[in-house]
């Protein structure tokens, strides 16, 4: 019989143990058979899903000196993180064929970043949140620069490191101010101290501003978005995929915790600022995506645009806005990872990320082209895909809270995004292929793509259970 506390921490312990096991097994096998490690890790992650489902019955509880909390929001995001982790590991299996060395370490770093995300979702103190976010970011620094012979990968790693350190500094300085003004870093204590306060003292306001800027770095929003295109382009494709889904979700779970759980009473002080950031981020991401030629760069700008949409839900500061944020991230997970699975399969076969080389993909691999098509439509927000319903909920929450102009900006940006997404679709379907050889799709990737497509259409058509879950996840805040 496990001690009760360990049962609460089971997903984290599982992932940490798996990472350690991989490092040890690789050491014992002297690197033989290390190419199958990513797939093994993906399969070994599958049992975490039932563990998370069983944990639903545990209810909300804070433990370990007020550092760790299990609540519905944490569970909702943990499901997102674990799903992202499994899909990224499937992608890594293909990718590691081109990796010359250190396969096991790559998988271990992915798992440790995943562990950071799980801990970030369950943080109940600013200190824990900071350590968890650092665990994510530092793993990503290393993974971004992993292709040592590729100058773009090294450049991306260096840029991410420098800008990330600045963002961490801002975040930490903000925590110091909040601690100075409120006398505690624990979320429970802060929630008590902030309850009913509609205006923030200057110290708290400065702290909150700095913390939010640190979070905008993780979530890739204006004004700390400059790293995104270069890092997305230079990093190995599985890393880019994990960055765009996992790291972004971690940023947003932190945003929900800080802004909606703690600083909700003073929402009139920050909601306007966040709404402005949302509008600017949407416009920046979508407008800059238009002239892109490299598909990973395009996805970088598009991910900035989506971060802007999600910020709308944060700005709305209502239970609908909060739930829409969670719902959208779940939809974004399946849509974006579908695209990255295709990008990675395409890169394995063709060795290019240029959009021009996607010409005639429909003839070379109808399945990949169709999957990409569905996912792009979902990202643009076309019904009945999941992206449509997510955008609908976000814009609805903005209108309800009086941010009509942000909703209009968001709706206009849908048209812009349709333009550049459909341009890619046209290249895939209308243009003749330069080289008509078919592109092979391995069984794990095929299964992962089926799962993602099932998610896009399944959640898109039967939205109710997922909306219900995301509403339940944030119920305790409002």
């Amino acid at each position: 019989m496990m001690p009760p506390h360990l049962w609460y921490l089971a997903p984290e312990l599982w992932v940490a143990g798996l990472a350690a096991l991989i490092l040890l097994v690789d050491l014992a096998c002297k690197g033989k058979g290390s190419r199958e490690i990513p797939l093994g890790a993906a399969i070994a992650l599958l049992p975490v899903a039932p563990i998370l489902l069983l944990q639903v019955n545990l209810g909300t509880r804070t433990l370990l000196g007020g550092m760790y909390r299990l609540d519905p929001l944490a569970l909702f995001f943990k499901v997102i993180f674990v799903a992202a982790g499994i899909l990224v590991l499937v992608m890594t299996r293909e990718f590691s064929r081109t990796l010359e060395r250190a396969h096991a370490e790559f998988t271990a770093l992915i798992l440790l970043a995943l562990l950071g995300m799980l801990l970030a979702a369950s943080s109940a103190s600013f200190l824990m949140l900071f350590v968890a976010l650092e665990l994510i970011t530092i793993s990503f620094y290393v993974m971004t620069a992993y292709l040592k012979t590729d100058a773009r990968s090294l450049e991306a790693g260096l840029k991410y490191l420098i800008l990330g350190s600045i963002a961490s500094g801002l975040f930490l300085y903000g925590i110091a101010w909040v601690y100075g003004a409120a006398g505690t870093t624990s979320f429970a204590g802060l929630r008590q101290a902030l309850a009913g306060r509609t205006t923030l003292s200057p110290g708290l306001a400065l702290g909150l501003l700095l913390i939010v800027s640190g979070i905008t770095f993780k979530a890739a929003c204006v004004p700390l978005h400059l790293w995104v295109p270069d890092v997305y382009e230079g990093a190995p494709t599985p890393v880019t995929a994990f960055l765009s889904v996992g790291s972004k979700s971690a940023g947003f779970v932190a945003a929900l915790r800080v802004l909606h759980e703690l600083f909700l009473p003073a929402s009139n002080q920050w909601a306007g600022l966040i709404a402005w950031l949302a509008g600017l981020t949407i416009l920046y991401g979508n407008l800059c995506a238009i002239p892109q030629k490299n598909i990973k760069r395009l996805m970088g700008y598009s991910s900035i645009g989506h971060a802007g949409y999600i910020l709308i839900g944060v700005a709305a500061a209502s239970s609908l806005g909060s739930a829409a944020t969670s719902f959208y991230l779940a939809g974004y997970l399946v849509s974006n990872l579908t695209i990255f699975l295709v990008i990675s399969a395409f890169w394995q076969a063709v060795g290019s990320d240029e959009m021009a080389d996607y010409a005639g993909l429909s003839r070379r691999s109808p399945f990949l082209a169709a999957a990409m098509f569905v996912a792009l439509l979902s990202l643009a927000g076309v019904p009945p895909m999941v992206g449509f319903f997510g955008k609908f909920l976000l814009l609805l929450s903005a209108i309800q809270e009086g941010f009509l102009w942000v909703a209009i900006v968001g709706a206009a940006a849908v048209v812009i995004s349709l333009y550049y997404y459909l341009l890619l679709v046209a290249t895939m379907y209308a243009d003749p292929p330069k080289d008509p050889t078919p592109i092979p799709v391995s069984l794990p990737v095929r299964l992962a793509l089926y799962a993602c497509l099932a998610g896009i259409l399944g959640i898109g058509i039967f939205q109710e259970p997922c909306v219900r879950l995301s509403l339940a996840a944030v119920r305790s805040f409002f």
């Binding site: 200190l127 290393v142 100075g180 003004a181 101290a193 110290g203």
Partner: protein, 163 residues
């Protein structure tokens, strides 16, 4: 705070060191000024009764990390003229403007900051810090150990030629 003179003296040393980091022409002088700033800071920690943090500040930061800084600076062997690109008037103006804004804002906020109720002066001995690390902060402490593991893996993977 028993002796204001001691506090102001140490604060002055810290600020002077920090200014030295900014204004030094040569990177080596900048690193050495940082040592002075860290010594001042650790003196401030002593005044607060946080002896353990003060000792760590000197041993780890002023000792180990800054020696590492010096190594890197000397290995890179930057000449002042290579740095002059960063010292152009535009960059200086922008940095001064942003820094001034942050300073003004921080000073304004700091003046209004009340000391929050319920904050107890902590005992900064090794025993007290150790107790906190293994009780309240056990989970972040353990997570930090994984952080270090990531750092070690990263250093080996990125720096080692043959693996």
């Amino acid at each position: 705070m028993e002796s204001p003179i001691l506090f102001y003296g140490l604060a002055f040393v810290t600020l002077l060191g920090a200014l030295g980091v900014l204004l030094a022409r040569h990177p080596v002088y900048a690193v050495l000024s940082l040592v002075a700033a860290l010594f001042g800071l650790s003196g401030l920690f002593v005044l607060l009764g946080a002896f353990f943090v003060a000792a760590i500040q000197i041993l780890v930061y002023a000792g180990a990390i800054l020696v590492l800084f010096l190594f890197v600076v000397m290995l890179l062997d930057l000449r002042p003229d290579e740095l002059s690109r960063l010292r152009s008037a535009t960059w200086r103006g922008a940095a001064l403007g942003l820094g001034g804004l942050l300073f003004w804002q921080t000073a304004r906020v700091a003046r209004t900051l009340p000391i929050p109720a319920g904050v107890q002066p902590v005992e900064g001995t090794v025993v007290a810090v150790g107790k906190l690390l293994f009780t309240t902060y056990a989970l972040p402490f353990e997570a930090a150990s994984l952080l270090l593991l990531v750092g070690v893996i990263g250093a080996v993977v990125l720096a080692k030629k043959k693996l």
